[in-house]
Symmetry: C2
Subunit: 126 residues, 2 copies
Amino acid sequence: MLKKEEKNSIIEICPIRNVVARFGNKWALLVVLVLSEQEIVRFNELCRLIPDVSSRVLSATLRTLEADGLVSRKVYPVVPPKVEYRLTDIGQSLVPFIIQLTEWAQTHMKTIVKHRKKFEVESLSE
Amino acid sequence: MLKKEEKNSIIEICPIRNVVARFGNKWALLVVLVLSEQEIVRFNELCRLIPDVSSRVLSATLRTLEADGLVSRKVYPVVPPKVEYRLTDIGQSLVPFIIQLTEWAQTHMKTIVKHRKKFEVESLSE
DNA sequence: CAGTATCCAGGAAGATACTG
DNA sequence: CAGTATCTTCCTGGATACTG
């Protein structure tokens, strides 16, 4: 394997890894998907729409998406606070691909799950 | 947030999360992409094609891809060992989406990187 | 050649509690 | 309401060494 510095340079150069790495985030894709369905969503609404994410992780996810320019955040100076999230144009442009991906997932899911089980059994019997 | 058991049931039910979770893997997408270009690849060849992955992680990645049925593994009973990896039909069917994704990444990468930097500066000045 | 074994470090994510 | 602070746990992935 390569040394750390060499690796980092590869990662920086490679646009695919750099950007696609974001999808490694456990929640990012899901947040984009939810935002694509609701247009405008407030923070606690998102919490409810994705019931198994903590507010800590959700806010971190939103911040990276905002940093990337995929999501915009609008704060209303009112009490109690009101913050709205929505997709930017770039964020929107990603949606069709995510949907295709989920369709692919739905199409092949049964086969994949079946295959996983079979594989598991075969591995055990060795 | 929900309790752990409730969460797990959500994840099991949801086909999208279940399958898309695989993309969270740091190397899975890249391996599929490389296999789509080379058709048949041997283990150490892959090591060389993806120079910044360790053999330990590479073999783990290959095993999960094999378990999912995206990659097939063919062992020749010779000395020294010879093992060939290639995409299955399901694996192949995923390739166009990955390519679209990488094209999207290439198109928007500059904007995203610029936005990240801007965002960083703004965060510091607060 | 094609991996495994072992050990370790870092980061992601979870639980809980708290605040402007 | 919309988060942050803190602490802890878990798990991925990395380094190195070794083997059928």
